[in-house]
């Protein structure tokens, strides 16, 4: 075996999960191979040319806070960006950007190519090598074998994937690529596999649209990017466009439902409810007379456009007919057909919270193979899989981020504790402590961890500490600076549209008024020179202090249960007093903590009580097993 065949970590796949996994492992000092089906398709965005949105934006920030690449890559290659939900509260504001697909891929590829310890290679993996229950490497189609103690599978939707376009179906992968069939067969022998489905809309030539019938959606500039390292982005942006389906559209679809792969019985796997095909929307919501269609440009140097909202599994001739009925798209030239895709993925119950499989030591999985959907979800799992692969090699405890600290934690815990019966997408409603899991404090939540892991540079950490210090000082200043009680102040307050002050208060108290913003305080006295993100955090921390304090208390209670760790190798069937259903579920999930155990469906409060007593007997060195 030559040095060329031996790596510390092998990552299979160079999508969003694979890239982050490879980068994290390499930056943490491991010799890491990242294998891709095609070097021309690294970090491909096969669906929307867009990243972010509710919940997802927070994930991108979290990946960035840990030292990942996705945020930086977005900031460098975006064509448009908007902050969504600005008026719905501090916790749910979310950035969404349109990307130049090719630029995004090219930059990410370059980052991988220039990262020390990382070896990006083209190759189709056909077989996973397993020795005595441990991952040992991979075999490639070209005949080579690569060896390693850790393999990270980040295979996306390529496992034995099948494309459906109406009645036509063929073995294939997104964007005309090859599926990975041998590996899929191999994995079916090793791990529990399920089959999921997703789909995309047609891509059209933007020159063929009638813009007089479309409404324009502009971006925002300047824009605060995803990455802590980016700062403000001021570029010329491109607009997106909006139109709506019509009754006529719906009639065509209703009349031809039997021809959609989704409804003809050709597709059996469940699809994501949040990403329905146009035919599903029409079937499930018959009262809606029109559905929104977003037209998203795919790049600066291409005329291809993505018809977001028109995902379908209808045959090609009907796709043409459907577009004819949508205002502005009547003469649209379709460049790529819409399709539905079915693929193999793991039942996420087969994973630990570390993302290592329970069956095979040293085998980690990240991204769509774990039953998720979305670039952001994939990247977030990728970085965790990369980190934990290294922890595993070093013989250290895995990094498990609790639900109360990050959406990453919410997502992984949901997957491994509750499983999923559709491609899983993050949503802010999934988090118990949403007020704390904000975009603006992702760095405060995770950058110390990223630094400790060696994924955050000294310079960045110093900048982070400086930011935290500035926030702290400014909050303190606002709480200690008196204001008001005089006529002069009251004249200004009246002008700002807020009640006058009869006696003095602090600036912080004034800022708690809903109609007063941090910037308004500048009219009452000079504000210190502070970066925009510091001002924003200060405003949130002061304005919502009462709510945040309550949330902190709730988090403390929550984390107490998470801190009660359950032993790793327990046969729950042997614990007297547990219901059989609970014991089965516990054996399947193998929860890390009492908190996680309590979240498993089928585990009742009575079972939790039994576990508490079991833990106590363990502590005292006794046993209640038989």
């Amino acid at each position: 075996m030559s040095l060329h065949d031996r790596y510390d970590v092998i990552v299979v796949g160079a999508g969003h999960a694979g890239c982050e996994a490879g980068l994290a492992a390499a930056k943490m000092g491991k010799r890491t191979a990242v294998l891709t089906l095609s070097l021309d398709n690294v970090a491909l965005l096969p669906c929307n040319p867009s990243i972010g949105g509710s919940g997802k934006a927070a994930l991108v920030r979290e990946v960035d806070a840990l030292g990942g690449e996705m945020g930086k890559n977005c900031d460098a290659t975006l064509m448009q960006g908007r902050m969504l939900n600005t008026r719905k509260g501090p916790a749910v504001q979310s950035l969404r950007v349109q990307l130049d697909r090719k630029l995004y891929q090219r930059r990410m590829k370059y980052v991988l190519e220039t990262t020390p310890n990382l070896f990006l290679k083209e190759g189709l993996v056909t077989r996973l090598l397993v020795e005595n229950g441990h991952a040992a490497g991979v075999k490639l189609q070209d005949g080579t074998t690569l060896y390693s103690d850790v393999v990270i599978l980040a295979t996306g939707t390529y496992l034995d994937s099948e494309i459906h376009i109406g009645e036509v179906r063929y073995s294939g992968a997104p964007q005309g690529q090859r599926p990975s069939i041998d590996l899929a067969r191999n994995l079916r022998d090793l791990l529990p596999i399920v089959r999921f489905k997703t789909g995309t809309p047609p891509r059209v030539n933007l020159r063929s649209l009638d813009y007089s019938k479309l409404s324009k959606l502009e971006g925002e500039s300047p824009l605060e990017g995803f990455s802590f390292e980016t700062g403000s982005i001021e570029i010329e942006q491109v607009p997106c466009w909006v139109t709506y389906t019509t009754e006529e559209t719906h009639k065509i679809i209703r009349d031809n439902l039997h021809r959609a792969a989704m409804y003809s019985g050709a597709i059996t796997g469940p699809g994501p409810r949040y990403c329905p095909s146009i035919e599903s929307k029409i079937v499930q919501f018959p009262d809606k007379t029109s559905h929104q269609v977003f037209i998203e440009p795919e790049g600066w140097q291409t005329n291809e456009g993505y018809l977001s909202g028109l995902s379908t599994s209808m045959p090609t001739e009907l796709q043409v007919e459907i577009l004819r009925t949508v205002p502005g798209l009547e003469n649209a030239e379709i460049m790529r057909w819409a399709y539905a895709i079915e693929y193999d993925c793991l039942d996420p119950f087969s994973l630990y919270s570390s993302l290592m499989t329970k069956e095979i030591a040293g085998l980690f999985c990240a991204g769509q193979i774990n039953g998720t959907s979305g670039y952001e979800e994939a990247a977030a799992q990728g970085i965790i899989a990369g980190i934990n692969a290294v922890k595993y090699l070093n013989g250290e405890d895995p990094v498990i981020i609790p639900r109360s600290q990050a959406y990453i934690g919410v997502m992984i815990d949901d997957l491994v504790t509750k499983g999923t019966n559709e491609p899983y997408r993050i949503m802010t409603s999934r988090a118990e402590h949403r007020l704390y899991l904000r975009m603006d404090n992702a760095d405060a939540r995770l950058t110390p961890l990223g630094y400790e892991l060696g994924l955050i540079s000294e310079e960045r950490y110093a900048a982070f500490q400086k930011k935290q210090e500035q926030i702290e000082l400014e909050v303190k200043r606002l709480k200690e600076t008196p204001v008001g009680g005089d006529t002069e102040t009251n004249i200004i307050l009246r002008r700002l549209g807020t009640a006058e002050l009869r006696h003095g208060v602090t600036l912080a108290e004034l800022l708690r008024r809903p109609e007063i913003s941090y910037a308004h305080l500048g009219e009452l006295g000079e504000l210190p020179e502070l970066p925009e993100n510091v001002r924003k955090s200060v405003e949130i921390l002061v304005k919502y202090e009462g709510y945040l304090k309550k949330q902190e208390a709730a988090i403390e209670r929550f984390e107490k249960m998470e801190a009660k760790l359950l032993p790793e190798n327990v046969d729950y069937a042997g614990i007297k007093g547990l219901s059989r259903e609970a014991a089965e579920r516990l054996n399947m999930v193998k929860p890390r903590s009492l908190g996680q155990a309590a979240r498993i469906s089928g585990v009742t409060p009575a079972d939790v009580n039994v576990l508490i007593i079991f833990l106590e007997t363990q502590k005292r060195g006794g046993s209640v097993d038989e």
Partner: protein, 462 residues
């Protein structure tokens, strides 16, 4: 000893000679200090472990004596649970014991979970390892029993009302969450007034529920029952028969606000407070003596109406009117004098007025009372009170009440947040909190329900 102080009634309710209320936890002595006055005048807090004092249990909020009692003090770790423990041993009786428990809860104790004293004893090392299995049995069986009661109540009218309230709240929360999580989908915005209206409605309903479905009240004060019917149908015989039947007369409570005497009797564990209008005994004619207005008022206040009719004489307009006017109440209809020939049948009654009221045909003069008692107990059980687990039911109920009150507090916070003009994500904290508290009663997982409902209600996604 970082756990909260817990309290529970340690004796079976209503049956035992003495009643014991037990507290365990670091605040047990502080609470005792506030609600017990020793005869000797020494402070409960300063008592050494394993000592007892005679004195009075008082309600510090109203400054009234609840009962004379013995206070027993055990200091941790030398107590059953290993924590500081106090016990109030009083004369028993539903009213007193429940009142003592409630006072302790108001002073900061939390209602103990089933088997929690035993669990704490084990976790604090007061029971050795060989007893672990026994502890598991206790905790397991009690928790399950309490869940069984919860499930039973689920099927009752109380839970139906809670479900209806939850639906309204879900509708609101689901819209809020859909708007937050799908900003680019065209989901209709929520108006402040619209939200406030829903929240206020739900708060109102919770308040009514807390007031009327507060089943602790039923056990504490007895179910208010009124015997009604036209003259000479046998109302006084029924009252006397019921008084003979009861196993233990709990107490006589002289009516403080009105000219009636209330007889509290225990019907298979269900305390029944019979509003004994003097009329029943003397003139045997409520309606005549008190007037229709007062009779209607009395029916309105009643938790249960026993309507007695005479099967041996023709139906009168009075019978029909009483039946019609008490349609909405929990009722048992007794058709008396089955020893005499029947002159009318059930079909002669307006089926809508009769509704689902159980009908018992009997002779109050010579027949067995069992079918009537069965009917009353059956009716009350269906309404959410189980006779056989009366003691368990108190626990569950007290917890339900707490959950309802917490839900209400959360909604009040949400309303305040809303009125301050603060954004949706802050408002949603209170809304979701309220749903979760209501979910505690039914054991539902709120978060996944919300997500399922978002997809069911809104056409979302691109």
């Amino acid at each position: 000893m970082t756990e909260q102080t817990i309290a529970a009634i340690a004796t079976a309710v209503g049956e035992a000679g003495i009643g014991i209320v037990r507290l365990s936890g670091k605040e047990a002595f502080d609470i005792a200090e506030k609600m017990f006055v020793t005869k000797r005048g020494d402070s409960p807090k300063s008592l050494p472990g394993y000592s007892a004092r005679y004195g009075r249990v008082v309600d510090p909020y109203q400054g009234r004596t609840i009962d004379e009692a013995i206070l027993l003090v055990m200091r941790g770790p030398y107590s059953y649970t290993g924590e500081d423990v106090v016990e109030f041993q009083c004369h028993g009786g539903v009213v007193v014991v429940q009142k003592i428990l409630e006072t302790a809860l108001r002073l900061g104790a939390r209602m103990a979970e089933p088997g929690e004293f035993t669990k704490r004893a084990f976790l604090n090392g007061r029971l050795d390892l060989s007893q672990a299995e026994a502890v598991i049995d206790v905790v397991r069986s009690r928790t399950e029993e309490s869940l069984a009661v919860a499930v039973d109540q689920l099927e009752g009218s109380l839970s139906k009302r809670i479900s209806a309230i939850r639906e309204q709240l879900y509708d609101l929360v689901v819209r809020v969450e859909a708007i937050i999580d799908y900003p680019e989908d065209d989901i209709p915005e929520l108006e402040v007034d619209e939200m406030a209206e829903v929240i206020r409605t739900v708060i109102g309903e919770l308040e009514r529920l807390i007031a009327t479905a507060d089943q602790g009240k039923v056990l504490r004060e007895g179910l208010k029952a009124v015997i009604t019917g036209k003259p000479n149908v046998g109302k006084s015989s029924l009252l006397n028969r019921l008084l003979d039947e009861q196993r233990a007369l709990v107490t006589d409570i002289p009516g403080t606000t009105r000219d009636t005497i209330e007889e509290v009797l225990n019907l298979r564990g269900i305390p029944l407070r019979l509003i004994d209008t003097a009329g029943i005994r003397e003139s045997d004619d409520v309606v005549e003596r008190l007037g229709v207005e007062r009779a209607v008022q009395l029916w309105g206040e009643a938790d249960l109406i026993i309507h007695v009719m005479d099967g041996s004489v023709p139906l009168s307009s009075e019978d029909r009117e009483i039946l019609a006017r008490t349609r909405d109440k929990l009722r048992v209809v007794v058709i008396n004098k089955s020893d005499l020939p029947r002159v009318w049948s059930l079909d002669d009654l307006d089926a809508r007025d009769l509704g689902e009221a159980p009908v018992v045909e009997m002779s109050l003069l010579e027949g067995e009372l069992t079918p009537l008692v069965d009917a009353v107990v059956g009716l009350v059980s269906k309404g959410g009170i189980r006779e056989s687990t009366a003691s368990q039911a108190i626990v569950t109920r007290a917890r339900h009440k707490t959950a309802l009150e917490e839900a209400k507090a959360d909604l009040e916070n949400a309303l305040e947040t809303l009125s301050m003009g603060l954004p949706l994500d802050l408002i949603s904290v209170g809304l979701q909190g309220a749903l979760e508290h209501l979910g505690e009663i039914t054991g539902e997982t709120v978060r996944e329900n919300i997500i399922d409902r978002i997809f069911a209600q809104f056409c979302i996604g691109k």
